[in-house]
């Protein structure tokens, strides 16, 4: 079964990898085996490791992602920043241990600094404190929405989840996050030193 390989060359065929994954994992509540199948973005970003794939492939993929973004039907991008704060704080959702009946969280604080009075923030992503200073122009609203919906439309192979495209958050939750980021009254935009 196990083919002999040298230490330096990580050459594992995709067939072998699939077989190993199928053998090594089992359905666990809502976390089912289908989740191991990669879509084109995951495949491209896995194969290329940390660097984006070659320019032509990358451009095509990015455009596909951009074209697939769904904007709010009512044209209204901004919800309730208080509800958005709760979504940003909630790290649960879609884990085998989570209740599928409960809403998913965005877990924004895992990676980003947001409200300056929350000290428990991660650093994998850039600080978004004071994000509202960018204003609420139409292009800004569409840009921010797109980043949340599918980060790969702008930044292929970013580590950030595709909150809209993958159905992690609802349109209403995304609007609430938008307000949390952009509303001048949101704590994200308060108490800046």
């Amino acid at each position: 079964m196990v083919s002999a390989l040298t230490l330096s060359s990580a050459v594992v065929s995709s067939e072998r990898l699939d077989a190993v994954l199928m053998e090594s994992f089992v359905d666990n509540g809502q976390a089912t085996m289908e989740r191991l199948q990669q879509d084109p973005v995951q495949q491209a970003c896995h194969q290329s490791r940390t660097e984006p794939p070659d320019a032509a492939v990358a451009a095509t993929l990015r455009q596909q992602r951009l074209d697939a973004v769904v904007f709010p039907a009512d044209g209204n991008f901004l919800g309730d920043w208080q509800r958005g704060a709760a979504v940003a704080d909630n790290g649960r959702g879609l884990q085998s241990s989570d209740d599928p009946a409960q809403p998913n969280g965005g877990n924004c604080y895992a990676c980003h600094q947001l409200a300056p009075d929350e000290v428990a923030y991660g650093t994998l992503g850039p600080s978004l404190t004071g994000y509202g200073a960018r204003g609420q122009s139409e292009p800004m609203l569409r840009y921010t929405w797109t980043k949340l919906w599918d980060t790969h439309a702008y930044n292929l192979c970013s580590h950030m989840p595709r909150f809209g495209a993958q159905g992690i958050l609802t349109q209403q939750q995304l609007k609430d996050i938008m307000a949390f980021l952009l509303d001048p009254a949101s704590p994200v935009n308060q108490g800046l030193r």
Partner: protein, 158 residues
């Protein structure tokens, strides 16, 4: 070849099985003082009620040195330390720890023997960011110090 420590382990363990080890019946603790658990304070669900269960409203006293972390990595285990300078506050007979926002704020009470050090270190659960209270009784009077400890969420939110 079997090592010395293994032999020691073997002889020591032959007589004590796994289950026996966990359910070992040992002597009931010797009771020299009368046990007087302040049950009313322990079942109280609010801080004022819990303090009432200890005998009233304490006044702040600087002789109580109450050490808790400003920010705790985990609310399941928050280390605390209570020391009382007996020159400024003599005759301390009881030391209590309360956590304001816990379902039952009363966490622990300690009876201190006369003529010894007033020094307690332990770890308590803190359900959410809130004030912790160190309450001491001396000559029938209650004194306290309080400190806020911030409890942080883990990486994946739980």
């Amino acid at each position: 070849m079997i090592k010395q420590t293994q032999l020691a382990g073997l002889s020591r363990r032959r007589f004590v099985g796994w289950t026996a080890l966990l359910s070992a019946a040992v002597a009931v603790p010797a009771r020299v003082w009368a046990w007087a658990r302040p049950e009313a304070a322990f079942v109280a669900t609010g801080i004022d009620e819990a303090l009432a269960g200890l005998g009233g409203t304490p006044t702040v006293h600087d002789a109580i040195q109450f050490t808790t972390p400003d920010i705790a990595e985990n609310g399941a285990v928050v280390p605390i330390r209570i020391e009382v300078d007996s020159a400024s506050l003599p005759n301390v007979s009881k030391v209590s720890v309360l956590v304001e926002m816990n379902p039952n704020p009363m966490a622990a009470v300690f009876d201190i023997a006369p003529d010894t050090e007033v020094y307690i270190e332990t770890r308590v659960k803190v359900a959410q960011t809130c004030n912790l209270y160190a309450v001491v009784e001396a000559d029938g009077q209650l004194y306290m110090q309080s400190r806020e400890t911030k409890v942080t969420l883990g990486g994946c939110g739980g």
